[in-house]
Amino acid sequence: MATGMTMSDATLLRRLSTLLVARSGCPRRMRLFSSYIVRGATFEPPDVSHLADSARISLAPGEVEDFGPKIRQVIDWFGQLQAVDLESVEPSVRADAEVSMYKREDTPETFENREAIIRVAPSYDDPYIKVPKVLSKE
């Protein structure tokens, strides 16, 4: 059940465990479920070619071979995070707890040096930045 778990399976299990807690009020049963989700799950090892595709980096075949073991080694090392009990720990999106209440005026301002922006574009044909054609995948 755990192998190759999809997002929907994980969500289902989470919802189930939340339901159980709500019904029983017992945190222990929830921990059982979440540790089952985490420890039982074995993820697919990283498919370097597929990742390179997603990241829009054209890797040479030699690079795929070279990166593969190194990336797998680091991802395995990341696995330490699975072994920790993080029950009821809120994730921190940022370093500090406070969010700045400052908001600037929502009024557009013209940037004073547009020529310099245009100058660095590799291919410009006023007013377009040109790129090659898009070919569909099929």
């Binding site: 980096i57 054209s58 920790v84 999106v93 370093a95 700045s100 922006i117 660095v120 090659p132």
Partner: protein
């Protein structure tokens, strides 16, 4: 509006000190103790020392016999008294830069307008108008910080030749304060690396031993200040990239609180972790730079509205220290950083530094930070994930190098393949993996939960202690080539620094000792960590530590040989 100009160096140093622990400015260190301490020094090289003419009040031999002084204040004093011109000072630094560059290669670009800008400072001095606090001061800027009209590559071939249309806020503030940007310094590509071997252009050498790395990713900035190619420099610190090179190069490195300095114009690596920091040859110089670059910026919504005190104003001259100026200070030594896996020489330097703090009146207690070792994998998950998103903008479309292809997808793929280096590619791929559907909860979210644990453990420790101390790095500078093929071995070196970034806290690294290596030893830095926005406290403590440290002077052999 630049901060009010500093009136005179002597007046600055005599300000009444308002530290929370007791200091009586009337009590003086017994003179005999002072002079005997100064005579027992570890001279880092023999041979004739030519005049360090940017410090006209300090005779050449004093360079290795007195505690570090403020070069910024010396330059200011010599300009105001008309003893020197800004053109003289700039000429001296440029000359030294050119002579040392073939050996250390810390610069990717040297400004062509330095002398012209120095002449403008001279005109300002002649006119009698107020000078900014950094007038005539030569600054190196890490190449991932945008400088208008000057190439800013982020250490990457994908931005080779790119000239930004704007200055980063930190750079704009430096210029408004009168500073002259002497050049852009070398770095690991986009901040990913700890040695500068990840630069797309060149490897920088450590001025203490040119067969070794200066550290990274701000290696060029650290080496430049160490070799006195510039007075101070800017760097960036995402996982230790200012503090580790400061330790390797024997200079002061400051990592401010997250949000203290605007990130506008800093090429983003990991947005929740990046900060701009600075290097100086003394704590005062770092404090003066922090004064100038800090503050809220409407262009950076993560910048803080927390007020900016005058960080340099309470850094007193040693004549006014009482015998135990740190009396009452509670210092926590992080137990996890002085055990297994740490170089024996580094541990003994840190313990000696702790003894020095005790002699100054502080009490040292060992503290343990739970979850300490989890910070490293959590950091790399968060940093790689955020980087995979931040670096997607380098696509060859609007700026940077573009591959010549017929079709748009190949444009992205090939431009990025050609322009990005191997370490950057790997981290983008790891980040892409960690963020993909099904894995987000297991990696990214768990890393964020670990971040919460680490924030809490620092907070708890800093409630009981005023500051925490640790080494900045587990070892002295590596040999060039030593860590190149082993990513995990390289990541392991960040263990002392990443947790501070996860918690967003400020930290100061001050050189504290040496270990064996090179012709004159390799420097070791002491890292001091404070609670959010406690830079004032860190700088005062760092200054007192530095000014009273007996036996060691941090002047690299390269400087003494070539100058």
């Amino acid at each position: 509006m630049p901060p009010p100009p500093v009136r005179s160096p002597s007046r600055l140093l005599l300000c009444h000190c308002r530290l929370p622990f007791h200091i009586s400015p009337q009590t003086r260190l017994p003179l005999s103790h002072n002079s005997s301490v100064r005579r027992r020094f570890h001279c880092s090289a023999v041979s004739a020392v030519s005049a360090l003419s940017s410090d006209p009040q300090i005779a050449p031999t004093d360079l290795t016999t007195t505690p570090p002084s403020s070069h910024i204040l010396s330059i200011r004093e010599s300009l105001l008294s008309r003893r020197r011109t800004a053109a003289d000072v700039a000429g001296e630094y440029l000359d030294r830069l050119r002579r040392t560059e073939p050996h250390i290669r810390s610069f990717l670009h040297v400004s062509e307008t330095t002398m012209r800008e120095a002449e403008e400072v001279d005109r300002l001095v002649a006119s009698g108008k107020d000078l900014g606090p950094l007038a005539g001061v030569l600054v190196g800027v890490k190449d991932n910080i945008c400088t208008a009209g000057m190439p800013s590559t982020g250490g990457s071939r994908i931005l080779e030749g790119y000239r930004p249309p704007f200055d980063a806020t930190a750079v704009r503030k430096l210029k408004e304060a009168g500073a002259i940007v002497i050049g852009k310094t070398n770095m690991d590509e986009f901040g990913m690396g700890s040695t500068t071997e990840g630069s797309g252009f060149q490897v920088t050498a450590n001025p203490w031993d040119i067969s070794r790395v200066p550290g990274g990713s701000s290696g060029g900035s650290a080496a430049a200040v160490s070799a006195k190619q510039c007075v101070v420099s800017l760097g960036s610190d995402t996982g230790g990239s200012v503090r580790q090179p400061a330790s390797f190069c024997g200079v002061v490195g400051l990592k401010p609180t997250y949000g203290r300095v605007s990130r506008f114009g800093l090429m983003a690596y990991a947005s929740s972790l990046d900060v701009i920091g600075c290097f100086g040859a003394s704590v005062i110089d770092s404090a003066i730079v922090l004064n100038v670059v800090s503050g809220h910026d409407r262009f950076d919504s993560t910048s803080s509205t927390h007020e900016v005190p005058d960080y340099a104003s309470f850094l007193m001259s040693t004549d006014h220290f009482e015998s135990t100026p740190l009396k009452g200070l509670k210092v926590g030594m992080i137990r996890e950083t002085i055990g297994d896996g740490v170089d024996v020489g580094v541990i003994s330097s840190i313990k000696a530094a702790a003894l020095h703090l005790e002699e100054l009146g502080a009490t040292i207690t060992e503290v343990s930070l739970p979850s300490f070792s989890l910070g490293l994998p959590a950091y790399y998950v968060l940093a790689s994930s955020e980087a995979s998103s931040n670096l997607s903008r380098y696509d060859g479309v609007r700026y940077g190098n573009r591959a010549t292809v017929d079709e748009l997808n190949s444009l992205y793929g090939d431009s990025r393949a050609d322009g990005l280096g191997p370490e950057v590619k790997m981290r983008i791929l790891m980040g892409t993996y960690a963020l993909s559907a099904g894995y987000y909860d297991a990696y990214y979210k768990r890393a964020q939960q670990v971040r919460t644990l680490i924030r809490k453990s620092f907070k708890d420790a800093l409630e009981k202690m005023d500051i925490l101390v640790s080494p900045a790095v587990p070892s002295p500078a590596y040999k060039i080539g030593e860590k190149v093929n082993d990513p995990l071995a390289m990541y392991a070196g960040d263990i002392m620094t990443v947790n501070v970034n996860l918690a967003g806290l400020p930290a100061l690294v001050v050189p504290c000792g040496f270990v064996e290596g090179g012709s004159a030893g390799l420097p070791v830095g002491l890292q001091m960590i404070g609670s959010s926005f406690s830079e004032e406290k860190l700088l005062r403590i760092g200054h007192i530590f530095e000014q009273t440290l007996p036996n060691y002077r941090f002047v690299p052999p390269l400087f003494l040989e070539l100058v």
